[in-house]
């Protein structure tokens, strides 16, 4: 026989519709770039926004289904769709702020937009993957695009260096993640999540040993990606050096995607092993919250401060993972949504204060800004108070859900440490407001109303942060249903 037929697996095209639409949009932006010229490339951003909208509509339409496709390598359940929608919001707001931000930079390439969309494709794949190989490849699609985005402001040395640092540590982390996958494969004989879950539930003492080693390595790998202490050393430098809009996408999208895969693998596939991994995550959560918040107190650059704040928030999310169960899982999803809106909002304010050749990223530059631009002052106050966990904003409700899940699971000590960390964080978040309203400064500010895209981003982020705080129960129910779709 010269050749033999290979029967392709059943493919449900409907199930991968969001990924298909998003990839098509990314490629369309890439091709359309050939016909755009000059500094105005907002048209590409619009193509991206329309594509993200279509993807979100597809995800909503699939909400009541649970489909697998490609021989079970992809599973489209509410959990995956929730994250798909989250990434559409994150990428959409990032595109919107970029359409104003790129004017004040030297980034003159339309590939910027397609790389953002490609990175989003990787995130969606990570959230809907049901096979460790697919998780790994999704992670790489996302990360490679993010490495390039970090260094896309090529005339800026610190952007180059941020890309290099992000790349080297990202690739280093990939090695650990892969080693973990190899050990899991060695125990289960397969890389599918269902196969690994079966092996884990009936594991002998010997098999458990290797599973534990594999999980430890995967925690290191994911720990780097979500910037958990002690694997966080790259984050402040990279966040500071990368173009601000890219920093926003990294802080929000990359982190959420890593948590999407992390939580699916640990809280669902390896849920029976939770006595083994939750102790490790307990320690990581405490370290991450404490180091993140305490170091943020010392920062003078707003992007660095927000980087440490995003490290601290990874700590709160780890608390949710330790708490586990339905409540912990739903709290993580809700918190990620609130975190996305308020963090993107804070970075938009950073962009709004900057001007061409004058980034104004030091905290002193914020002096008096609240009076010279009342709208920016109001927006920044809402984001900072929400990040600090002060009612009635989304961040408060998110923290409330996380800590009550931890209390219900009996982690009183962890909750106390978490609440104390929240109190520490109030100091530096409110510190920004004090500067904005109680000191005088002379930094000239372009009114955000003259930059329509940035203005729209801020309005959406403010509205979302407030809405999550005022009407949390509906969205928490959505988050709960999404998490329950796992089991």
């Amino acid at each position: 026989m010269l050749y033999r037929m290979i029967n392709p697996p059943e493919i449900s095209w409907i199930a991968i519709l969001p990924v298909l639409l998003l990839s098509a949009t990314a490629m369309l932006t890439m091709v359309a770039d050939l016909w755009t010229d000059g500094p105005d490339r907002e048209g590409l951003g619009w193509i991206g926004l329309v594509g993200l909208m279509a993807t979100a509509i597809a995800a909503v339409a699939l909400w009541n289904t649970k489909l697998t496709s490609f021989a079970g390598a992809v599973v489209v359940d509410r959990y995956g769709l929730f994250f798909t929608l989250l990434f559409c919001v994150a990428a959409g707001l990032t595109l919107l702020m970029s359409m104003s931000y790129l004017e004040q930079t030297d980034i003159r390439t339309g590939d910027y937009y397609s790389l953002i969309l490609f990175s989003t494709v990787g995130m969606v794949v990570m959230a809907t993957a049901a096979d460790l190989i697919v998780v790994f490849l999704g992670l790489e699609v996302m990360s490679i695009a993010a490495y390039a985005l970090a260094g896309i402001w090529r005339s800026q040395v610190r952007s180059n260096e941020a890309a290099l640092k992000y790349f080297l540590l990202g690739a280093f982390a990939t090695g650990f993640l892969l080693f973990g996958i190899a050990l899991l494969y060695g125990v289960a004989g397969t890389t599918t999540l269902t196969g690994i879950a079966q092996t884990a539930s009936g594991a002998t003492a010997e098999q458990r040993t290797l599973l534990i080693a594999g999980m430890a390595l995967m925690i290191v790998g994911f720990g780097f990606k979500v910037a958990a202490v002690p694997f966080h050393a790259w984050a402040p430098d990279v966040y500071e050096g990368a173009p601000t809009s890219v920093t926003a996408l990294m802080a929000v999208g990359v982190k959420s995607a890593a948590f999407a895969a992390f939580a699916r693998i640990f809280m669902h596939t390896l849920a029976v092993m939770s006595p083994d991994w939750s102790a490790v995550l307990w320690v990581l959560a405490v370290l991450t919250m404490t180091v993140g918040n305490v170091t943020a107190l010392l920062q003078r650059n707003i992007k660095r401060m927000l980087a440490y704040s995003s490290i601290a928030h990874a700590g709160y999310l780890l608390v949710g993972m330790v708490a586990g169960g339905e409540l912990g899982g739903s709290a993580i999803l809700f918190y990620l949504l609130a975190y996305t809106l308020m963090t993107l909002g804070a970075f938009s304010v950073v962009i709004a204060l900057g001007r061409r050749g004058q980034p104004n990223e030091n905290l002193e530059d914020y002096a008096g800004a609240g009076f010279r631009s009342p709208f920016l002052g109001m927006a920044m106050s809402i984001f900072m108070l929400s990040l600090a966990g002060i009612p009635p904003f989304g961040g408060f409700v998110g923290k409330f859900y996380i800590f009550s899940a931890a209390v219900k699971s009996g982690y009183i000590g962890l909750t106390v440490i978490g609440v104390m960390n929240s109190l520490i964080s109030v100091y530096y978040y409110v510190g920004v407001l004090v500067r904005m309203y109680m000191t005088d400064g002379g930094v000239e500010i372009t009114q955000p109303s003259s930059r329509p895209y940035l203005f729209a981003t801020l309005v959406v982020a403010v509205a979302g942060t407030i809405a999550l705080g005022l009407f949390p129960s509906t969205l928490f129910e959505v988050a709960r249903q999404s998490f329950l779709a796992l089991g």
């Binding site: 033999r4 290979i6 029967n7 392709p8 697996p9 493919i11 991968i16 990839s23 490629m27 890439m30 496709s69 490609f70 021989a71 390598a73 992809v74 030297d106 003159r108 390439t109 590939d111 397609s114 790389l115 490609f118 494709v121 990787g122 794949v125 096979d131 190989i133 697919v134 490849l137 999704g138 790489e140 699609v141 490679i144 695009a145 490495y147 390039a148 260094g151 896309i152 090529r154 005339s155 890309a163 010997e206 098999q207 040993t209 290797l210 534990i212 080693a213």
Partner: protein, 167 residues
């Protein structure tokens, strides 16, 4: 005899790997890596993974390492006198790496797989490329399609970062 072959190849492999990490000049480091990749290919052959062994030589030792050598020569990198990390950091790194190794040995021993018998005979067709192709285009079809996207992203990224004109 079999154990002897393993120990011999393992020793050569580890020496080459140490060469990558300890060599003074980047060129020597790269050439050590090529040697290590070849020894790995030999291991792959002995483990009945002929296709992977061939890919290792063609793609890894061939294409990827040539790219490395090209960049090293393009940037004309010389030996750098103060190229190693500070002594304290070196000590810390050595400790961490040894701890990692000891932990793996501990876990391997406890899992009992180091005392297990050898690997046994392979089933029919295990070493055939056709069977790998079949896995690739059935169970792993999505991953395969995803790599096309990955390569596209890599091409765009490399062009964006390295093209000459700052458009």
């Amino acid at each position: 005899m079999n154990t002897g072959v393993f120990v011999l190849l393992a020793t050569l492999l580890v020496v080459a790997a140490l060469g990558v990490v300890l060599a003074r000049s980047p060129i020597r480091s790269a050439l050590s890596l090529v040697v290590a990749l070849f020894f790995l290919a030999v291991f792959f052959l002995l483990l009945d993974a002929q296709l992977i062994a061939a890919l290792q030589v063609i793609v890894y030792a061939g294409a990827i390492m040539v790219l490395f050598l090209f960049v090293i020569m393009l940037l004309n990198l010389q030996e750098h006198p103060a190229e190693m990390a500070r002594a304290g950091l070196r000590f810390l790194a050595g400790t961490l790496a040894s701890l990692f190794l000891l932990a793996t040995i501990y876990f391997t021993n406890r899992s009992g797989i180091s005392n297990a018998q050898g690997m046994g005979a392979i089933p029919d067709g295990f070493d055939s490329t056709a069977q790998i192709a079949e896995r690739l285009f059935t169970q792993h079809l999505f991953a395969f399609e995803l790599t096309s996207l990955l390569l596209l992203v890599a091409i765009i990224s490399a062009v964006v970062l390295a093209k000459k004109k700052l458009a």
